[in-house]
């Protein structure tokens, strides 16, 4: 890597932290992942969305060399996987399907053992390692309980310890599978802040999740998979196609229903829980509001309904997430 040309090619391909081409995995008769083309750019927080059983975890396992692809190519940090595992994986931190530890050892002992397994990474000295473990524990707020056996940890604490393990070597790429599982709202917030801080520092984060809200909050781009296929891959704001649904809260429900019905390009639904639900096709929300207010309706609230993962799926695929073509063995 000392020759200028070699460096140039390295930086040219380094713009993508993760790239897959036609990635496919079959388990016997079941195809868990079909022809997946992903591209995650360096330095971004990328969401990998899909309902449970859509092939997310199988994909994550293929990225990390745990499961071998039936066909297709994977590049991690510009190098082919799983061929370059030894070179690439030391720069990758991961949380795969929940954390795992030796229950009879303390959190600190677990991290120390984990840190010592595999190549030493930058600064393999004993003092460096101890400091590194201490810092990782501190970062996830476990510094004070690091000496208790993991057996006694709550789900949330284990999840944090798993994150600490992923952060041990200051990785260039973090691959996280459902990192906020088992955390309370406060914990979720802390993890989001932690990830935002890491991305600000130049780390690439690949976040696999079934929660649209989570991805929406922190990710800039996202891919959506369904039944092992890539449904969409784009900026998050582009994926969140407006539902065109508006909810109006008003005490004058009957009058509002009648008035709204007079507007062209509008579908008025049955009022539910004192709210009028309107589907706008060609009318703007402001036009609706004007119509109602000028007609004497007291509008307390007028809200654009945010799309749920369900809506995004419906818009993109025409199928609901629960409907499946074939049972999927692997998550």
């Amino acid at each position: 890597m000392t020759q200028p040309s070699a460096v140039a090619t390295a930086t040219a391909t380094a713009s993508a932290a993760i790239r897959t081409e036609g990635l496919t995995k079959r388990f016997g008769p079941v195809t868990a992942v079909r022809g997946l083309d992903l591209e995650v750019f360096e330095g971004e927080l990328f969401g990998f969305l899909g309902p449970n059983g859509s092939g997310k975890t199988t994909t994550v396992r293929m990225l990390l060399g745990l499961v071998f692809a039936t066909s297709g190519r994977i590049e991690l940090l510009g190098q082919p996987m799983p061929a370059a595992s030894r070179a690439v994986l030391p720069e990758v931190g991961s949380l795969i399907e929940g954390p795992a530890f030796y229950p009879h050892l303390s959190g600190r002992a677990n991290l120390t053992l984990f840190d010592q397994a595999g190549p030493p990474g930058a600064g393999g000295g004993r003092a460096t390692r101890r400091r590194r473990v201490g810092e990782a524990l501190e970062r996830v707020g476990l510094a004070t309980v690091g000496r208790r056996p993991v057996r006694a940890y709550s789900t949330g604490m284990r999840q944090r310890l798993g994150l600490a393990a992923a952060l041990l070597r200051a990785p260039r790429l973090l691959v996280l599978d459902e990192p906020t599982n088992g955390l309370d709202p406060q914990g979720m917030r802390e993890v989001r802040d932690l990830l935002a801080g890491l991305v600000a520092g130049g780390t690439t984060v690949f976040l696999s999740s079934h929660l649209l809200a989570e991805v929406e909050l922190i990710c800039t781009r996202a891919a959506i998979v369904h039944q092992g296929r890539l449904v969409a891959q784009d900026r998050v704001d582009a994926l969140l196609v407006p539902t065109g649904r508006v909810e109006v809260a008003t005490p004058d429900l009957d009058r509002a229903t009648a008035l709204a019905g007079r507007l062209p390009g509008i579908g008025v639904g049955e009022p539910r829980a004192g709210r009028l639900v309107v589907q706008l096709d060609g009318t703007s929300p402001e036009a609706l509001n004007q119509q109602l207010v000028e007609g004497g309706v007291r509008v307390r609230e007028l809200v654009m309904v945010r799309p749920s993962l369900e809506d995004v799926f419906l818009a993109l695929t025409g199928t609901r997430t629960g409907e499946r073509e074939a049972p999927d063995a692997a998550g």
Binding site: L64, G65, L66, V67, A100, F101, L113, F114, Q116, A330
Partner: protein, 267 residues
């Protein structure tokens, strides 16, 4: 990586419990022999035990003969069966492999640790047995199974070869269990399948109808180390035992490696 695995072995209570149990059985037998003074009649009962009453120096060999048919293989099967499947069942296997620890390397390290455990167990059993035998029955020059006596230094190298032979036989067991450990994600299932193979072998070994396969059974030459205490030493079965275990070790370690290196890790 080896250091990490060794630390795991040493810090696991099970390691020490099983070694204590292994060393405890012959000690218990010695206490009974000493208190009652009733030994098995010569030529009957477990190997060497009849002679131990007169000479404690034979007790290490007798102790190994006591634990070898059942206790030791169980301990070895459990340890080796746990090697990979145990990591799979705790979920730590996926994190070890993404550190990354190479799959071949992980398997080799697990095998080395298992070997060390086997040696540790065999040596501790022999050492405890020597101390127990010497204090309870006293030490005299060894009478060989063939009647002549075996002098001190001669006796100690024969005991050393015995320890190596037993450990080598147990490595055969470990290989089978390690292979099973790469197949299943349940450490219990891995240990049980290795034990099932051994029990089958021991049953067939008792069956005259199975005479044609006997020389190839993994357990067939296990107790042949008794021949090391004859004068002159009968090397025939001992060397066949070494060779046969070598084949088992090679085949099952090869199978374990081939399976593990290409396996999809879904645990």
């Amino acid at each position: 990586m080896l250091r990490v695995e060794l630390r795991k072995l040493v810090r696991r209570p099970r390691t020490w419990v099983s070694i204590a149990l292994l060393a405890g059985l012959p000690t218990l037998v010695a206490v009974f022999l000493k208190v009652t003074g009733i030994g098995p009649r010569p030529g009957e009962g477990p190997a060497f035990l009849a002679e131990v009453l007169n000479n404690g120096a034979l007790f290490p060999a007798a102790a190994l003969a006591l634990v070898l048919p059942l206790f030791l293989p169980v301990a070895v099967s459990v340890t080796a069966g746990d090697a990979v499947a145990g990591e799979a069942s705790t979920g730590t296997l996926r994190y070890l492999l993404t550190r990354p620890v190479g799959r071949t390397r992980l398997l080799v390290v697990k095998l080395i640790v298992t070997i060390l455990f086997v040696f540790l167990a065999v040596v501790i059993v022999a050492a405890v047995a020597f101390v127990v035998g010497a204090t309870m029955f006293g030490v005299k020059p060894l009478p060989s199974v063939s009647g002549q006596t075996i002098a001190g230094p001669e006796a100690s190298w024969r005991t050393t070869v015995t320890v190596i032979y037993v450990a080598w036989s147990m490595l055969g067991v470990a290989s089978i269990a390690l292979f099973a450990s790469t197949v299943t994600d349940s450490p219990l299932a891995a240990a049980l399948s290795a034990l099932a193979a051994l029990v089958t072998s021991q049953v067939l070994d008792l069956l005259d109808a199975a005479a044609s396969v006997k020389p190839y059974l993994p357990t067939h030459y296990w107790l042949s180390f008794i021949d090391l205490f004859r004068t002159p030493i009968l090397w025939h079965n001992v060397s066949r035992g070494f060779g046969l275990q070598g084949v088992y070790i090679l085949v099952f370690l090869g199978a374990a490696w081939a399976n593990f290196a290409t396996k999809d890790i879904k645990s």
